[in-house]
């Protein structure tokens, strides 16, 4: 079966924000800029919302295709829409 290739829905998630990771990403992309103290939390929030949108969109895509499993093409189609929406 395709169990090995599928990832079951995670029941528990960490709500802790990877603040160091976020800061590092920003620093790596824009080494000349500074991120204020609590901005990484807002970035985390933004990322959470983006992920949530993406998840809902891809889920809708999967349901539209009558698929019980989210495939990468579903995610790809959703990403096209959501990345466009989440432009600054």
């Amino acid at each position: 079966m395709a169990l090995s290739t599928t990832v079951s829905q995670s029941k528990r998630i960490k709500r802790k924000a990877p603040r160091g990771f976020l800061k590092r990403i920003f620093k790596r992309q824009k080494p000349h800029l500074r991120l204020e103290s609590s901005c990484d939390l807002l970035v985390h929030l933004n990322c959470l919302l983006f992920i949530r949108r993406l998840a809902e969109e891809s889920r809708a895509n999967a349901c539209k295709n009558k698929c019980g499993i989210i495939k990468d093409q579903h995610v790809l189609a959703a990403a096209k829409v959501i990345l466009k929406k989440s432009r600054g």
Binding site: Q9, P18, L42, V43, L45, D72, A79, I82
Partner: protein, 588 residues
Amino acid sequence: MEGSYIPDSEPTTRTLLRRLLDTEDPHTPRGRQSTRASARRTPLETPFSMRLRSQTKTTTRRHSHGARSIGRLAHIQTSGRLKEQTPRTLLENILLTAPESSMVVPESALKPVPAPQVVQSPSGESSRGSLELQLPELKPPTTLAPGLLLALGKRKQRLRLSEFQQGVDQELPLSPGPLTEPHGNAGASSLTSSLNLALATPPVPQSVQRPGLARRPPTRRAVDVGAFLQDLQDTSVALALPGDSLRTPVATLPTDTVLEDTQPFSQPLIGRSPNVRHSLPCPSSSAERTVGRRTQSSGPRLQNNSPGRPDQLLVGKAEEVDALAVGFPNTSNSSSGEDGLQPLQDGVGEEAEDVMEESLSMSDEEEAAGAQGSARAEEPKTHKEGTEAEGSWGATEAKELEGPSRDKDTAGRTGSPELTSITLEFQQARQLEFLEPAQPTSTAVGLFRQQSIPAPSLPPEPLSARRPPRARTAGPRLRQDPYKTGLSHYAKLFSFYTKMPMEKAALEMVEKCLDKYFQHLCDDLEVFAAHAGRKTVRPEDLELLLRRQGLVTDQVSLHVLVERHLPLQYRQLLIPCAFSGNTVFPAQ
């Protein structure tokens, strides 16, 4: 034609034959057959090929008849006659006869005997070339006398054999012809069999006599190790005997040839063979480094001392090689000579390490006080130049050419200054080591200062100092991993929000999307901050971003989003709230 033919054949047919003979049991007929095939592979001159074929046919016929030993004898005789015409025909005969001779086991002890004869006789006539392998069988009749003369006390057995062979040969000529021989020599078959044994086996000893040809790949490795050891040794020699350093002026003359040697030798230092490390403990490895660096780093400052070094070493090496070549005239090949060098160098190199350490510890204080201060100040600059020059070996070569002339001056000095100068070199080289890892960081100079000061005081430090770069090399990998883990963290969140099972490929896609998303995010934030005339990204920028993304609207404020999606601990940090003592945290 044969002379020109030799070099080509050596790598191909001879080595093949030798390998076969060495590896396989002489008793197995298969190996012989294969050798035969390989021998036939050798390009034969057309005029003789016809004759060869005819001979082989006759031999095969005889074999089928069953008079084996006799047939062999006949072959030997015929081969002896034909030898003057073509050694190849002889070869073929030998190959054909060989399998039968291999049947006899006990004579294997005599194997080494005939080989030297063969080798010596061809030395007179180098034309034998590739055929030498099998020729030994054919040779005995003609080469017996020179073989006897040349063969010294070591070859008494051989003498016996030669006598044997002579007797056999004499018997054989008596027989009218190859066709009639079988009947006449049936009685002498036992003798001939023994003879054949001795004759068939020679190829193995041959390989022993010319190790360079048979074992080329190993010799190359040996050269690398040897070069390294020699470098060490030479440094030690220079330390121990100031008089030896006088060689350096000599080095100036053959610099061209010497420098040619440097490249192949110095490069292997980088990719050192592990056994060297084992044999030579910590100090040796540090010395290696220094040597390698010296060749690489050609800063103007270091050149005064360093470039001369390799030359010295090489000169010493060349001298040794020459000496060895004289010692063993047989091993005229440079590769074989260096092969012999290796054991010597092993011993000397280890001694060299000890000497090096002592000298370093001795002269550390002196240098630290005086000359080094000035040298260090200039080194950062020189090092940069060195790194630039590292890429091209040719450049270093050119600079090394300049080296020897300066080296003369150093050579002229008395012993004690030389010691100091050498130690200086070492420490400079060490500092270079420090610098190279440190340079990528912007504070290279500062680091250099910090590292250079402890370096002279602690000789074993280079080892500990060398580790950090390794850790740094491993660093980027680790750095990439956290990025992946961070992305995978959000991918997990994705799988939580979907409330559906998903494929792993989809997860990877999500990670890709996240990567893109972060890129856009950072670009947007940069633009917002730049528009506001700031270099710091503030929460307002993020709020604006959320608003533009349609997440924050007039109905849904940022605080609402924070309350909805972030845990309480983060909410406290984001949403201003009144605390006791009439304070608001976070302050607005």
